[in-house]
Subunit: 336 residues, 2 copies
DNA sequence: TTGTAAGCGTTATCAG
DNA sequence: CTGATAACGCTTACAA
C-alpha cells in the first residue's frame, strides 16, 4: 500500500519478547481468558502502542471471514433525505466498528445491480439498500447471501425486512388538517406508482378524504417519477386542466416540490399561488419561501439506527422484524 | 461472512481440471503472457462464469498489499456541495475499480482524526480530504503514509497537493459585476477566517473593490463559521448596525445564505430586502426565491475527477501538481 | 502461562 | 504451456 513499512504482529511479538500467539491474544483482549501474565500483557500493549501497531484488516478478514464493512446503496446523495441517512449511518457504523461503503444507484436498476455486485465482491458483511425497483426476486436473492435490510422504501408484498417512515399516517394527518380548513381541492403529485413511497403516501392522502366522507378527484392525482422536471410538468398539466391553480398542492417529494415551486415562480411569481403548499421531506431553505410550506420530516437518525440494529441482529443470527419509524410534521403555516 | 458457501479459485481450478495457478493466471487476464492454451482459457473462464466466481477481496489485498479502496472525508453530507462531490467521486471510483469509503468529520478536528485513523487501519490506498483545519503537520504526517489530496479546501502556505475551485476569480467577477451596477455597499458574511475558502472568497471580494479604486467598508465584513445560525446572526448584526439592509449581500456559503434569507423572511417577508443577493454554492430551491440570487456554482464532477486522477497518479509513483477547477456563475438576475 | 503450526484465498516464482 | 510451492498477516486449536 505504501513505501512506509508496516509493522506486523510478529514484529510486535518480537519486540515484546513473546510469540505472536501471545501478542495476538493480548491485542484482542483475550488476555484474561488465556490467563496471560499481567506483566506480559503490559509489555505487549506498550510496545504495540509505542509503534502505533494496526492489524492488517485484510489478513484479519481473510481469517475471520468477516470484512467489518457494510454497504449502503442510495439513489442519490443530492437528495437531502438520503444524504442525511448516509451521514447518520456512517457515524453509527464507525462507532459500531464497521466501515461503511456508500454507493449511489442513480435510481437505475442496472446501476444498482452493478453497485451491489461490487459490494458483494468486496465481501461486505451486510447491506442496507434503498431499492429503486420492486424486483423482489433480485433482492431476495441477495438477502440469501448476506444480511439485507431495505431502508426508506420497501418492496410491496414481500417479506424482505425493511425500515421505513410511517408515511401513510403522517400524510394522512397533513392532508386531514388541511381539509379541516375547508379546503375542497388538493392536487397530488407523485412518483413511480410501483415504488412503496408512492403507494404509502397516496394511501395516506386517500384515507384523509375518506375519513371526511369524500373522495379525492382522480383527475387531480398525477404520477410520474421523482425528478424535478416531473414536478414542474405535473403542475403545468394541472394548471392547464383547471385553468387556474388548485386550492392546495401536495408534492410527494421535495424534488417534485422544487418543480412545483419553479412553475409558480416562473408563472406569476407566486402571486396567485395556492395558499396551501404541502410536501414530503423537508429542507431548511423552505423556511424562506414566499408561502409557508408544511412538510413531513423523516427521522433519518432513527432510520439509520434501526437499520443498523437489524443488520447487527442478522449477523448475530437473530430473527428480525421490519420497523416503521415515526416521522413528524413541520407546520410552517400553523393552522393546526 | 455467510453460510452461503463461497467458491474459491481452487474449486474453479478443480472443476476446470487445471491447477490453481493456471486458473489464477487466466482469471487475471495473464493468459496471453503465460501462453496458456486457448482451450484451457475458455474452459476456465466458462467454469468461473457459470459459478459466478468472485475472488476474495481480502485474500487478494493481503497478497497484493493494495486494498482497492479509497477514503473520502467530508465535513457534512448535508452540505449539497459535498454530497455532490461524494456522489461524483463514488461513481468515478467504482469505474476505476476502487470502492470508496465516505466518512464525515462534522467539521471537527477530533472527529476528523478518528475517522482518518480508522480509514488508515482499513488500509485505504489513498485519501481525499476536505480538511476542517489548517493543521499542516497533521495532514503532512498522513500524506507520508499514503497518497493524500486535499479537496475543496487547501491548507494555506503548505505544499500539500489540493484540488479546489477558482473561488477568488469567480467571487471577483460576481462582485465586480454587481459594483458595475452602481452598488456602493455590499455586506460580506464569511466563515472561519483560517480556512482557505474564507481566505480565497474574501480575496476575490476585496479585489473587486480595489479594481474600481474603492475599498470595501471593513465594518460590513463579518466572519464567524459556516453554520446557518451564524448567517442569521451576522445579517441581524449588520441590520442593527446600519438601521436598514445594506444595498447588497454576499454570503460565502449557502448555509450562511440560508441564515440570511431566514432573517429577511422573518423580518419583513423580504419587503425591504436588498435587491442584490449573492452567494457561494448553489441549490435548485434558490430558483424559487422571492428575489433572484446570483451564485457561484462549483463543478463537483471536475473536482472529483481531478482528485481521483491525482490519487491514481500518486499510486503510480508520479509527481502531481495541485489544480484549480473552474467554477461558474449562475446569473439568476441577469444584469451582466 | 506460552509457543507451534495450520490454515484463510490469492498471486508470483520457479521448475518441469 | 502448466503445476507445485511459498508467501501475505492474522487467529486459533492443540501442545508443551
Amino acid at each position: 500500500m505504501t513505501n512506509y513499512q508496516r509493522l506486523t504482529i510478529v514484529d510486535i511479538a518480537k519486540l515484546a519478547g513473546v510469540s505472536k500467539t501471545t501478542a495476538s491474544m493480548v491485542l484482542n483482549g483475550r488476555a484474561a481468558q488465556y490467563r496471560i501474565a499481567a506483566s506480559t500483557v503490559a509489555r505487549v500493549q506498550q510496545v504495540a502502542a509505542e509503534h502505533h501497531f494496526q492489524p492488517s484488516a485484510s489478513a484479519r478478514s481473510l481469517r475471520s471471514r468477516r470484512s467489518g464493512t457494510l454497504g449502503l446503496v442510495v439513489p442519490e446523495l443530492s437528495n437531502l433525505a438520503h444524504a442525511l441517512l448516509a451521514q447518520s449511518l456512517e457515524a453509527l457504523c464507525r462507532d459500531a466498528g464497521f466501515q461503511l461503503f456508500v454507493v449511489c444507484s442513480n435510481d437505475q436498476t442496472d446501476t444498482e445491480i452493478k453497485a451491489v455486485e461490487q459490494l458483494l465482491a468486496r465481501q461486505v458483511d451486510g447491506l442496507m439498500l434503498v431499492p429503486c425497483s420492486n424486483n423482489a426476486k433480485l433482492y431476495t436473492k441477495w438477502s440469501k447471501r448476506l444480511p439485507l435490510v431495505l431502508v426508506d422504501r420497501r418492496v410491496i408484498d414481500s417479506p424482505l425486512p425493511f425500515v421505513v417512515s410511517n408515511a401513510t399516517e403522517q400524510v394522512f394527518t397533513l392532508i386531514a388538517q388541511t381539509l379541516a380548513q375547508g379546503v375542497t381541492e388538493i392536487a397530488y403529485f407523485g412518483g413511480q406508482m410501483d415504488l412503496s413511497p408512492s403507494v404509502d403516501r397516496l394511501a395516506g392522502f386517500q384515507r384523509a378524504w375518506q375519513e371526511r366522507g369524500l373522495t379525492a378527484k382522480p383527475q387531480l392525482i398525477f404520477h410520474r417519477d421523482y425528478h424535478q422536471q416531473s414536478g414542474y410538468a405535473m403542475m403545468a398539466e394541472c394548471f392547464t386542466q383547471l385553468g387556474r391553480y388548485p386550492e392546495a398542492v401536495f408534492a410527494a417529494s421535495i424534488s417534485l416540490l422544487e418543480g412545483v415551486l419553479a412553475f409558480m415562480n416562473e408563472h406569476d411569481q407566486f402571486k396567485t399561488a395556492p395558499q396551501y403548499l404541502l410536501s414530503f421531506d423537508d429542507h431548511r431553505l423552505l423556511d424562506c419561501m414566499p408561502r409557508p410550506i408544511n412538510t413531513v420530516v423523516q427521522d433519518s437518525a432513527q432510520l439509520a439506527a434501526q437499520s443498523l440494529a437489524r443488520i447487527i441482529a442478522l449477523l448475530a443470527g437473530e430473527a428480525i422484524e421490519s420497523a416503521w419509524v415515526p416521522a413528524h410534521i413541520n407546520w410552517r403555516d400553523s393552522y393546526c
